[in-house]
């Protein structure tokens, strides 16, 4: 059994919907069946066979090779197995995912990990706006699992997130952790304006103080947090590139709403 691989043969002329390419949807399908799957998003019909060279037979392990930013919905609703993307991903990468692992060697578009509930996504490059945020038609953002972004995250990172862990190594745009209900975002690097806007509960762990700090966050001073030690142990366990130490300055907010959230600025 070798991994089922899909190599993009030409630059797509329209956005592609790759949500059919998940282990559970491909299990038991023949090569012919797979090549006939429609992946187009316009009136011009496009099938898997039109765009990809398909090889291998293990649907539990899927490889997407040479993809670009027009390849949307990779691993959307993924429940088990693994997908490795050797290239970039478009919008809705791993959106509403429930389990399994998704690895992207390039960058991802908007809504990466939007509304995901379980499993893990690793993006080596950057992610577009609303990563771990609310996908269209939903009322909540990420509900569980883990999203790691090696580069920068766009604006509205983790909007209305309820649970789960987001790790960003290269900073984020405006409104990081906006309207968060709970969960944890660990953000290294520079963060844009309005970080923690409308934060109800949940933790926004920052490596440095935002340049524009909302006035509705109150200072609790520099303290030791034992749970950050537990978090650091977990980061080591999963081989994350970022570390945290126990000491941090705690800012509570957003006092304009519930105010039981926190911004922990690592010492």
């Amino acid at each position: 059994m070798t991994a089922l691989s899909f190599r993009l043969t030409a630059k797509p002329e329209q956005r592609l919907d790759l949500s059919p390419l998940t282990p559970s949807k491909l299990a038991g399908k023949s090569a012919g069946d797979i090549e006939a799957l429609p992946i187009g998003t316009t009136r011009e019909p496009v099938t898997v066979g039109d765009m990809f060279k398909v090889k291998g037979n293990d649907a539990g392990k899927i490889r997407l090779i040479g993809t670009d930013g027009r390849c949307d919905r990779i691993g959307q609703g993924l429940a088990q197995g693994e997908i490795v993307v050797d290239g970039d991903a478009g919008a809705y990468l791993g959106a509403a995912m429930r389990g399994g692992t998704l690895v992207v060697n390039g960058s991802a578009g908007p809504f990466a990990g939007g509304g995901m509930a379980g499993g893990s996504i690793d993006i080596a490059g950057s992610a577009g706006e609303r990563a771990a945020g609310v996908i269209v038609g939903e009322t909540f953002g990420m509900r569980g699992g883990r999203l790691a972004i090696g580069g920068k995250a766009g604006p509205m990172l983790g909007e209305r997130m309820r649970r789960g862990l987001v790790i960003v190594a290269g900073g984020a745009g405006d409104y990081a952790g906006a309207r968060m209900i709970a969960g944890t975002i660990l953000l290294k690097g520079r963060v844009g304006r309005f970080a923690g806007y409308g934060l109800r509960r949940g933790s926004l762990i920052l490596s440095k103080e935002p340049e524009h700090l909302l006035p509705t966050f109150g200072d609790c001073g520099l303290l030791d947090f034992n749970w950050l030690r537990v978090l650091d142990g977990y980061l080591k366990e999963i081989g994350a590139r970022v570390k945290v130490k126990a000491r941090a300055r705690r800012l509570m907010g957003d006092m304009a709403v519930l105010g039981k959230g926190e911004m922990l600025i690592l010492a």
Partner: protein, 302 residues
């Protein structure tokens, strides 16, 4: 029939009769091992026997910083009771009063298991609304604000219904000092065995009991058959030269772990041979009809 002897110490052909219990393990950490031990000793205090303490508890072992979830020194504590409801109550009372209150402490689950006991999920209410839940790697932790920072406590811990309580050894000797020294060695040897505790003070009980009494309402009373001062008055089990008897009681998460601990204990007791003054090693039972677990000394040392 020749008598079974180990380095001149007679191993009486009998068995220890033990009972099913429910058990759990929690891990207590603190800024220093000394403080983790303080919390653990406090939590396992007054937990020698379920007869009046509600639970039997003890320190299983200490943990190095690289063995704990928060990278701080820790202590593994085992807690046993006769039924799940009682174990749950004892666990919450003991962690709530003795660990939550101890400086710098944190408390984590120490046992997997399909069945769970509430830990932080109840203790969090001490936070009066300011507690925060954190799910890390699929495990839920509660952060309860306290005066020295935060008490981090895992939501639940595992429970086993396969625990066994009341494994025991009775050590008889010609000299009081020899019995005490041999039993101290045995407890030390048992400490190295995983999954077991010896809940009595220093691991030794000098007031072994029998069921019932001549007094109404006294459910357990002195084991007169093993009291050296009563040899002439009761149906004694002791030869005339025996000066003292001490008992080591063992609780374990599995029957197998108790057998291992008893084996380690017997070898430690006999290490210095009969010349030290130990004459017999025997075990307590009720004829075999009460407890389902029988640990035959002969089989254990085989």
């Amino acid at each position: 029939m020749s008598k079974l002897k180990l380095k001149g110490v007679e191993i009486v052909e009998t068995f220890a009769e033990a009972f099913p219990m429910v058990g759990t393990r929690v891990i207590i950490t603190a800024p220093t091992l000394e403080w983790a031990l303080t919390a653990a000793r406090t939590m396992t205090g007054f937990a020698t026997s379920v007869i009046a303490c509600g639970a039997e508890a003890g320190i299983e072992r200490t943990l190095k910083p690289n063995e704990t979830l928060d990278g701080r020194p820790g202590v593994a504590v085992l807690l046993f009771a006769m039924e799940t409801g009682k174990l749950q109550k004892q666990l919450l009372n003991r962690v709530g009063q003795c660990v939550l209150t101890s400086a710098g402490s944190a408390c984590f689950a120490g046992l997997d298991g399909e069945k769970k006991l509430k830990l932080g999920s109840s203790l969090r209410f001490f936070g009066d609304g300011w507690q925060m839940s954190k799910v890390i790697g699929g495990r839920r932790f509660w952060r309860v604000p306290v005066m020295d920072g935060e008490f981090v406590c895992e939501d639940k811990t595992g429970l086993t219904k396969k625990a066994v309580g009341g494994g025991n050894l009775l050590v008889l000797g010609r000299s009081y000092a020899a019995v005490l020294a041999a039993c101290t060695r045995a407890v030390k040897a048992m400490d190295a065995v995983p999954d077991v505790i010896t809940p009595f003070p220093g691991g030794i009980v000098r007031s072994g009991s029998k069921v019932g009494s001549k007094y109404k309402g006294q459910i357990a009373s002195t084991n007169d058959a093993y009291c050296p001062t009563l040899k002439a008055a009761v149906k004694t089990e002791l030869p005339l030269e025996v000066e003292a008897v001490m008992e080591i009681v063992i609780d374990g998460l599995t029957a197998d772990s108790i057998a291992k601990a008893m084996r380690a204990g017997i070898h430690a007791i006999c290490a210095k041979g009969a010349v030290e003054g130990i004459t017999h090693i025997t075990a307590g039972n009720y004829g075999g009809n009460l407890g389902p677990h029988h640990f035959h000394l002969k089989e254990i040392i085989a």
